[in-house]
């Protein structure tokens, strides 16, 4: 294709804009990373900006090799994988009938779902429910209550709605049943959106901290995020249960906190680049007008 002056202008703008934004957004993580690999004195006196001061990997090693960390890490990986897989399945299936607006009563069901985005029973009844279901201290409690996220449900439903009707019609004429259409035609065509909600779910499960905080008491079932939050919150002296001087003396140094942040954030960051290959346009062509 020939490039016009306009195109050239657009490209220049796009690259400049994105580079500027990218640099800005890179700052905070670089800063935390630098703190994780800098020496404590430099962190305390605020010398660490974008670049590490007195590069060392001991802090990071200390965090990663602690048994509490590695245990919590494996647990979080497990919960994230199982949770994401089940969530995608349930969400993709539930969204399908919801995208069929001609079905009687389907709007009402949709309202029921959206309602729960805004209203919830609150902490106490939820805890009582999980207790009744024997889910306290049970790892399933980290997966089941978040099985279907309504936001993700809406995203995938909206995508289904944008798929051409002709697709399903031709399949129906060939005698395919609803289930077959969903699993054989719709889902394979929905990879961009499934990749999106997979990312949302994975990040959601990985970052979930409220669930483990409330429903898990067992020291061997602490997830990484619960561990991380507790380490980070440690610095916040206004925690509800007052601290004794011994607690103050035992507080983790800032470097340890940054290293914990890095060690527990980087694993989930790699998910996105991996999923990006599904974000490629044009998946639809060919298959639609087959």
């Amino acid at each position: 294709m020939k490039r016009t002056a306009n195109d050239w202008l657009l490209d220049t703008f796009a690259y400049f804009f994105l580079i500027a934004i990218g640099l800005m957004m890179l700052l905070p993580l670089l800063n935390v990373f630098s703190k994780a690999v800098s020496e404590e004195w430099a962190i305390v006196s605020g010398k660490v900006g974008i670049f590490p001061v007195g590069f060392q990997l001991d802090t990071l090693r200390e965090v990663v090799t602690s048994s509490t960390f590695s245990h919590a890490f494996l647990l979080s990986v497990g919960v994230t994988i199982v949770g994401t897989a089940l969530s995608i399945l349930f969400t993709a299936v539930t969204a399908y009938p919801l995208s069929k607006r001609f079905l009687p009563g389907i709007s009402f069901v949709m309202v029921l779902f959206v309602f729960t985005m805004l209203f919830s029973g609150g902490l106490i009844p939820n805890y009582m429910l999980m207790r009744q279901l024997h889910l306290i201290n049970n790892l399933w409690v980290l997966v089941l209550p978040g099985l279907i996220g309504v936001f993700n449900l809406l995203v995938i439903k909206s995508y289904y709605e944008s798929l051409p009707e002709a697709l399903e019609e031709s399949a129906r004429i060939d005698g395919a049943r609803t289930y077959t259409i969903l699993f054989r035609i719709i889902l394979p065509l929905s990879m961009p959106v499934i990749a999106t909600i997979a990312l949302f779910y994975a990040v959601g499960y990985w970052n979930d901290y409220f669930g483990p905080m409330i429903y898990i008491n067992d020291t061997t079932k602490q997830t990484l995020q619960l561990y991380l939050q507790s380490v980070v919150m440690e610095a916040n002296t206004s925690t509800a249960l007052t601290k004794s001087v011994e607690d103050m003396m035992n507080m983790s140094p800032e470097g340890i906190r940054s290293a914990t942040v890095i060690a527990s954030t980087v694993p989930i960051l790699v998910v996105y680049p991996f999923l990006q290959k599904y974000f490629i346009k044009g998946v639809l062509i060919g298959s639609v007008k087959g």
Binding site: S67, Y127, T220, A240, L241
Partner: protein
Amino acid sequence: MAMENKKWLTSLLCASLAVSVSACGPSKGASPSADPSASMGASAAATTGGKEAKPQLHALNIWMKDDYNTYPVAKLIEEKTGYKVKYDMLPQDKANDKLNLLMASGESYDLVTIGGDRSLYGDYAKKGALVDLGPLIEQYGPNIQDKLSQDSLDALKIDGKIYGIGNRSSAFASYGLMIRTDWLEKVGMQAPATVDEFTQVLKAFKEKDPGGNGDKGYPFTITGDSPMVTDLMGAFNLANYWTDIDGKLVPPPLNPGFEGYLNYMAGLYKDGLLDKEFAVNKDATMKEKFTSGKIGVVSLGWWDIPTVTDALQKNFPDAKIAYLPALKGPDGKMGLGMGGGFDRISFIPKSSKHPEDAIKWINAKLDDDLFKEIAIGEEGKHYTVKDGAYSPILPAFNDERNQANNYLTGVDEKNYPIYWQARVKKDMRLYEGFNYLNNVLPAEARLVDPLALAPSMPINSKNSAAMTQLLNDYMVKVFVGEEPVSGLPDFIKKFNATGGQENEVEINAWYATVKK
């Protein structure tokens, strides 16, 4: 695949029907041993019958970084007491909410150990959620009666009954004003002894600029969330939150010294002696400014000394720091507020299955030798002792006893303050700071919190956090000049209306009973 999941979900739905009927019921009834004395008698009989297997105890503790169940102290306690204990822990954040849930839903913990928050403990006791420990201690707790002072036991009594065992904290001053003594030398001044001299030093720091910061530094800074600065507060007779004025305890706003303090701090801010950005400062920002040489004086706890010294001396090899003495105020008042009260409180919920074993366990841990070994380890391995002074052996002490305080349920009140100094000696710089504030300074420079051993007071515990916040916010606004000091009467009105009045009445009703 979808069908399989469906079947599995259907069974969940059945459960949900059951839930909707009973989920919201009060859970108090769930406690199996509502009457501890009854079950106690039975088990006492069993004890005399010979050696029965000790049950596994289920304990709930506050958050700690290492795993409670595998930390060396846990093994030691299990070996020596014969009790296998399964420890669970609360999260760091929202610990109160979580504990409320666990207590209200009657989870069967045999022992719960929380921070020194007497209000939460008092709340549970009043609601009848805790086992009365009186008869149990009488029967199974000779060590508890022996090692804990009557004061400590009494402080945790609720309506005359004892429901909890507290780890009495040794009373000591923990914060002081830390000054760059090399700056003092540069400006040719001595360490100030009065508030006026302190102001002169700050002025000299500003004018002569020993740090060479230009307009990028300030003589003095504090954090935005603690405008009540130890030492300076003492100079205005405000060393502790509650002060005895003519036989009555009053909170800061009603203290005659308060206006002077506000004026003084607002003056420092106006004259550029107090960091213009102090309201934004968090603890870390404050240390950052101090260690990067932008600030001459900060308020610092002695446990922070090693970190701060390390950082400061890396940046300025010639830098030297020291605590200021307790500064005398315009009326000759002075003093550092001292902590006190309890580090931890342990109690037995009604839902406990083994209340008497829990007490036996606590009692066993207070045995002379075992207590010492839990607290500071073995002689020659974890600590050395010379002339009655304990010093830690590093790194063994750090590796295996750093978190020992989390395992204590009640302390040997006579000996623990002595053992305890082994912790402080992990770093001599830290010890020196501690020693200066608590031993070098004359005794009258340290003022005990009159409320250190006060019982839990419901109105105060309900209001106190919000009141402190209200007061802090007001003070910050006055310091920066957003509100004039002359508006104090209006603030007092608001303070009293928001809960100050009822707090004061409640506290003084109690104070009248203890005052000689």
